[in-house]
């Protein structure tokens, strides 16, 4: 779920732009300069993946993939998500212009958190990685949902009801994202384990060339 224009107070939209630009700049610095074109191509893959709809009873939900993006791209994930959101407003008509910064924070911060979680605790055993992938998937959408509710709540008391219901609507998404995260990471651990290391990021503290 993306926040559309005209909902958030102007201070929050501008603050969202400022914070997400700073984070995107950090994310660029943490990505190998050579790898930026490759990251762009990978962003396209994540974008296409997020268009996949999973049936849920009579309706269907589409995946947010914040957790999985973080797990696979590490610190570069914020940049990838920002680009994805811009493309989405260019191409698929979703997502707003003024709410872009807030949306990037809503998806990008959980991705960074999940990326850190996954890379720190993943170990070497495929089962453990799959379980952790599930945790990252579920945590990614949980944190996104909380961020959405928190952003909506900045509008004042009148927005609390909507924020609560938006939070509740994310429960099935969280379950589905958890399962898909676990299975996808399990698949990658068997098929191409090198994808589970963030290939595009430089190590923290490495000199910037």
């Amino acid at each position: 779920m993306h926040i559309s224009d005209g909902v958030l107070p102007i201070s929050v939209t501008i603050g969202g732009y400022a914070a997400s630009s700073a984070l995107a700049a950090w994310s660029v610095r943490r990505t190998e300069a050579e790898a930026l074109p490759k990251l762009a191509v990978m962003t396209a893959a994540f974008f296409v993946a997020s268009l996949v709809h999973v049936p849920f009873g009579p309706t269907s939900v589409h995946l947010l993939l914040a957790g999985l993006t973080g797990a696979l791209l590490g610190a570069s994930a914020f940049l990838a998500i920002g680009l994805g959101l811009i493309l989405q407003s260019l191409l698929f008509q979703f997502g707003g212009l003024t709410a872009l910064g807030a949306n990037a924070l809503m998806m990008g911060l959980p991705a960074l958190a999940c990326g850190w979680l996954f890379q720190t605790f993943k170990g070497a055993a495929p089962t453990r990685q799959a379980v952790l992938g599930g945790v990252a998937g579920a945590a990614g959408s949980t944190l996104s949902a909380i961020a959405l509710a928190a952003l909506l709540a900045t509008g004042g008391e009148d927005f609390f009801g909507v924020a609560k219901i938006a939070l509740a609507a994310h429960v099935p998404v969280i379950l589905i994202e958890g399962a898909v995260g676990a299975f996808t990471v399990g698949f990658l651990a068997r098929v191409k384990p090198e994808l589970l290391k963030p290939a595009f990021t430089r190590r923290a503290g490495a000199p910037h060339g």
Binding site: D5, G6, L90, L97, I165, F183, T184, F187
Partner: protein
Amino acid sequence: MVDADIIGLPLWYLPALVIVPMIVLVAAIKRLSRFAHTRSTPGEAPDWSVPPVDTAAGSTLFHRWDVRCKLITILVYSFMITALTQVTMALAALGLSCLALVAARASPTRVLLRLLAIAGFVSMFLVIMPFTAPVRVGDTVIVFGRLDWLGFNLRGLVLAVTITIKAVAITLLMEPLLATAPLPVTLHGLAKLGVPEMIGQMLLLSYRYLHVFRHEARRMAAGMQVRGFRKRTDLATLKAVANFLGMLFVRSFERTERVFDAMRARGYRGRFPEPVELRLKRRDVILAGGWLVLGIALIFLDRLAWQG
């Protein structure tokens, strides 16, 4: 309950005034979205090398407007719309957006698709807010029958309607902003405005490969269907979807290396050639200035009305 005007209505008004309009709204959105999607995908296999964003080769005011002025004006003006608080001023902004839409000769189907994309999120406000906005002094609350706990707060409805109008007003500006110049030109304009050039390049690359991967994903999905896969609400479906995603990532990851090698083989050194040379004319600046003054006037009137 605090001091609020409470209007009691018999219980049968609830379906008439609330539930039926909601069902009509949802049905209308569903119907329109089916209509828009059948209209917008006439055939498969569009030409990847020409981004569909630049279908507009027209010569309206928006096409001739300097892309830098256009980006700044519409972005700043959109933020101004966000700052509005009154329904009347939001309506005025909506009127201005409609004028821009006509002036830019935007494609009605694409505009409709953009509106439908926000329809779900915005209807959530329209449906939930009147029932959940806390009652304050001077509010008008409609209570149906003995359902005291389900007060329909008119102030919440007005707030939700204001949000909807603001959202629509900004969404309508997206087509004049983005579809009146080719994507590389728009990104070039952004770069000239100080956005790092790398961001524009990455957007172009993602944009290009997005189509490639969509095509690939569609082929993979067709293969799964041929082998008898049907989407259901069960764990097996999730597992199949996850393998599908995993395969998509593996293929894309291998592709990134080949793409980058091909780019370097063609002489890529961290830059793309400039698509156009931008020249700022006086007319561009006057249009930008005039529009922004209009935006400031809207905010001014908005605050004035609020105090009065």
